[in-house]
């Protein structure tokens, strides 16, 4: 095992890695920007060093400073977390050149998978399905028909010069191809001044489903049951669950084997994730990309498999052999993750930096909080506004959902507004409950903003505010200077004399 691990990151993922290291008995080194001196990861690590000013470019992305810290403090491994330098092949190579183990896959895997084109070529050679489509533009009506047959319906006619959803045209039947070709060209010419169009398979009810893989340095590689991450806002995942409501055991095995093929294309030897786009209608799946790092949503896979992915990733980087085979990986129950952001759900999800002045974290059975928050934290404006990930497990999907509802109701963050109310509302949504979701769900159907929602306790709010005003005014009248003759003194006198017993409160 390593002598000392440096974590080149901040926030909750750094806390996650520190916890894994503590359990492995390995000392940890944190690095921090000037904006993060008070952050929890600085206080939780055994050592901590400042590496520059607040902007990431001048701190968390400074490879030279991070490697200098590692050299001086004797760290023999670096965990990059996610984001920042986690998918930077040059950094992985620089670590190796300095004799430091980069806790992640081999640099070639990062490089090949980091590029849309090379990754597609690599996995396609291994037989992993890509979204069927043309790589060039259509030349004729005849060619359009030929390609349509080759790709299979439904298809999408796309304007080469289009973008942002413009210049798209769905075609469901062969007899509509010719007319669509003519119309699309004319339309495209009018809109973009260019009549080039091409064909691609149209994915109905697109769902984002991904497969966690885990490899070691000895050629062993396993996959885990899938995660569904279709609940997205601005192309950002906000709720993830495992397993998916769409996937049955047979499809799970097919996706898992495709993921292993993709991973084997680059001799994958660490924790990674193969992302697929899946048609909610036909249940076909197609390779999107591979993330060569620990994923934000890794905890839900941990909850249904019992595998500590973060710890296994470190062990595998240290040369240990994976302690289980493919047939040992269970798929036990259901897990859900809600990402809690410092954003105001009543105000267009604007980020809400500020100071956390109160915090109560949910607890009890099968509730897991992965957070970098603490009372007194000034949420910095320089970084991602994710405060915490709330994760629950349940033996059935229904129990998982009611448990998350319960956990959300216990979560109190004071000082900044968070997306907790948004999650609470999503978890009451009929379509979400039925599992019939796709990546367009929030954008097209779910009103994330809900200023006008019914708030059932308006009277209680007025009562509380009235008491608040009364107590403030009474205190003011008494001079506020600490002459304790007001309510406080009364109350404590009452308490001291033994609280008057009341009837059972009716």
């Amino acid at each position: 095992m390593f002598r000392k691990i440096l974590i080149a990151n901040r926030g909750e993922i750094t806390i996650r890695v520190i916890r894994a290291c503590k359990e492995l008995g390995v000392p940890t080194v944190a690095v921090f920007s000037e904006a993060d001196r008070a952050a929890l990861h600085v206080r939780a690590a055994d050592e901590a060093y400042c590496i520059g000013p607040a902007p990431s470019r001048e701190s968390y992305l400074r490879q030279d400073r991070i490697l200098e810290v590692a050299a001086r403090c004797g760290a023999d491994a670096i965990h990059p977390g996610y984001g920042f330098l986690s998918e930077n092949a040059a950094f992985a190579e620089a670590c190796a050149a300095q004799g430091i183990t980069f806790i992640g896959p081999n640099p070639r895997a990062i490089r090949v998978m980091g590029n849309k084109t090379t990754s597609r070529v690599a996995v396609h050679e291994m037989g992993v399905p890509l979204v069927p489509g043309m790589r060039e533009n259509l030349q004729s009506e005849a060619q359009a028909l030929e390609w349509a047959d080759r790709i299979g319906f439904p298809i999408m006619m796309k304007a080469a010069a289009g973008g942002g959803g413009k210049g798209l045209r769905q075609i469901h039947r062969r007899e509509d191809v010719a007319a669509a070709y003519r119309a699309a060209r004319a339309e495209s010419l009018a809109a973009f001044g260019d009549d080039a169009v091409y064909l691609e398979r149209y994915i109905e009810n697109p769902r984002h489903i991904e497969i966690q893989v885990l490899g070691d340095r000895h050629g062993n590689l396993i996959y885990c049951p899938e995660r569904e991450c279709s609940i997205q806002r601005r192309h950002q995942k906000v709720i993830e669950e495992a397993p998916s409501t769409l996937v049955d055991p047979e499809m799970r095995r097919a996706m898992g084997e495709a993921a292993l093929k993709a991973a084997r294309a680059v001799d994958y030897d660490s924790a990674g994730t193969v992302e697929f786009i899946v048609s909610g209608k036909s249940r076909e799946f197609f390779f999107l990309e591979m993330n060569t790092r620990l994923q934000v949503e890794h905890p839900i896979t941990e909850m249904i498999t019992g595998i500590d992915l973060c710890k296994e990733m470190i062990r595998s980087a240290a040369g240990y052999v994976l302690p289980f085979r493919q047939e040992d990986i269970p798929c036990h129950g259901h897990a859900l993750e809600c990402r809690i952001y410092a954003e105001d759900p009543d105000n267009r999800f604007l980020p809400t930096p500020g100071r956390i002045i109160g915090l109560r974290v949910p607890g009890g059975p099968w509730v897991r909080d992965e957070s970098g928050m603490y009372e007194g934290l000034d949420v910095p404006i320089h970084y991602d506004p994710m405060l915490s990930k709330l994760v629950v497990w349940g033996s059935t999907r229904e129990r998982m959902i009611t448990r998350m509802q319960r956990a959300l109701s216990e979560y109190a963050v004071k000082g900044v507004k968070t997306t907790i109310p948004f999650h609470a509302r999503m978890l009451r949504n009929e379509r979400f409950l039925s599992g019939d979701i796709d990546t367009n769900f929030i954008d097209n159907e779910f009103q994330p903003n809900d200023e006008a929602r019914e708030k059932p306790n308006e009277d209680i709010a007025l009562v509380a505010a009235a008491i608040g005003a009364y107590r403030r005014d009474k205190e003011k009248a008494l001079g506020r200077s600490g002459i304790e003759e007001g309510p406080a003194a009364d109350a404590s006198a009452w308490k001291a004399s033994g609280r008057v017993r009341r009837d059972p409160g009716f």
């Binding site: 009543d346 105000n347 505010a465 009364y470 403030r472």
Partner: protein, 177 residues
């Protein structure tokens, strides 16, 4: 003490009596609430009202009569003004001018200012882009109007509540009378 409470435009008269320390009677309009009150943690009220238990987070905004109230995940912004004071204020009769002082809704950096003084703007038009936490946020004008002044400077950091710009309602020169 008697207060006038306002929530989402609806006003209610609230009379507060404390017959015994820790026990309050609050009369909202016609309805009477008997409240067993405790503040187990600062600004967290435990209210027992006819047996129903409510944990309520109450923050008085500094220096004002505005209270941020959180109950079971819902947020209520309540104004609670002493009745005499409210009546006085109402007699002063300050009508809404329609002038919009745009203030920054959060801390961040001004990425771009899309208007300048004298520009005509439509309600809903993006007038300024604010960058915070790696995201760009479009701020829109709430009214049809004319930009009266611009305080925000591109590339300069602002705190929540800082003035950004002012939009005056547009007065048609030749109203269709």
């Amino acid at each position: 003490m008697v207060y006038i409470g306002t929530h989402q435009g609806r006003t209610t008269r609230a009379k507060v009596v404390e017959p015994r320390p820790g026990l309050f009677t609050v009369t909202l309009g016609e309805k009477e609430y008997h409240v067993d009150f405790l503040e187990p943690q600062p600004n967290i009220y435990s209210l027992l009202i006819d047996g129903r238990s409510f944990e309520v987070d109450v923050d008085a905004k500094p220096g004002g009569d505005l209270f941020d109230v959180f109950i079971r995940g819902d947020h209520y912004e309540v104004e609670m003004v002493e009745e005499k004071k409210k009546k006085l204020a109402m007699r002063m009769g300050k009508g809404a001018t329609g002038r919009q002082d745009m203030k920054s809704p959060m801390a961040g950096n001004v990425r771009s200012v899309l208007v300048q003084p004298g520009d005509r703007v439509a309600a809903g038009q993006v007038v300024l882009i604010l960058e915070a936490m790696k995201m760009q946020n479009e701020l829109k004008s709430a009214i049809d109007g004319i930009v009266a002044s611009v305080t925000a400077r591109e590339g300069v950091a602002v705190a929540a509540g800082d003035p950004l710009l002012v939009v005056e309602p547009w007065e048609p020169q030749f109203p269709n009378v």
